[in-house]
Symmetry: C2
Subunit: 145 residues, 2 copies
DNA sequence: ACACGTTATAAGAATTATTCCTATCTAGGA
DNA sequence: TCCTAGATAGGAATAATTCTTATAACGTGT
């Protein structure tokens, strides 16, 4: 049902509902439902190719850019220079705790709203659109060096 | 004096104090003193080449990695995929407000310590080392599209 | 001051992630 | 069914970063 809802949203936006786009959306929705970590473009491509062996990497990147522009997807950038993508769901907002050793990612259910507000007050002429909050460290597994 | 202090620190660490490293450190210190935004590897290289025309990009990257590992430099990753570097000074801690259009960067003097604490409580088995907080939007100049 | 071993450097090749190019295809409206 | 703007595949191009290797030089110990 989440998928149908999102495909409907895509249709409303006015972009073409190609099979490639549907499949990419499906992969993102599945990951969201499992509660797993955000996906890299490469991981998404590998998943999509199980059904669409011919899809080009360029299409995946282009589609992710489109979804991001339309607010359906959020693009994340972590300290190891990895770029990842995850579904955006209204009413759900979280940040990320990342292991510096294995890359393991956990959700942080808190948001620095107070800092955001103070930043707004500090720079009232700046039109704030978004923010990121990442915490880095070593996961239980990696602490046992 | 900041520079001398830092070079002293480098010596203490036990790595060789080459002219290249001194010059890179100088560039970082100057930028810190102006209060300007963090520098990209390319910007640092261009500055250093005014005095050391022959320095290789690889040396700049290697040196920045060394400084970062030793805690003298902080590496930042922004949403436009730009990687930047800034001097770390004890007792000084800030975050960044970034213009999505022109890349203009301002310092945010607030830190989400409460979120950090709650994250610690939420994942007590995770050894937290660091964090990032970035705010994105449009600067006054870029708002007049 | 000198010699030596270790570590750092320059230069260019290699790697990797991402975007561009262009000919071809197709989703969806008429 | 037809038409066309918009999307795709595939490969080339780009850009940032890292690797390789031969040479250079820092700084400890003589
Ligand atoms: Mn997430
Ligand atoms: Mn800064
Ligand atoms: Zn880990
Ligand atoms: Zn701007």
């Amino acid at each position: 049902m989440v998928l149908e809802e999102l495909l409907e949203q895509l249709k409303k936006i006015g972009i073409r509902l190609t099979p490639q786009r549907q499949e990419i959306m499906l992969v993102l929705v599945e990951r969201f439902q499992e509660g797993g970590p955000p996906l890299s473009a490469d991981e998404i491509t590998r998943h999509v190719r199980m059904r669409y062996p011919g899809i080009s990497l360029d299409t995946v990147y282009r589609t992710l850019a489109t979804f991001t522009k339309e607010g359906l997807v959020r693009e994340l950038q972590f300290r190891d220079h990895s770029r990842r993508f995850e579904l955006v769901r209204k009413g759900e907002h979280h940040h990320h705790l990342v292991c510096l050793s294995c890359g393991n990612i956990k959700k942080i259910p808190y948001c620095p709203e107070d800092c955001l507000e103070r930043t707004r007050e500090c720079y009232p002429e700046f039109e704030i659109k978004d923010h990121s909050f990442n915490v880095y460290g070593y996961c239980p597994k990696c602490r046992e060096d």
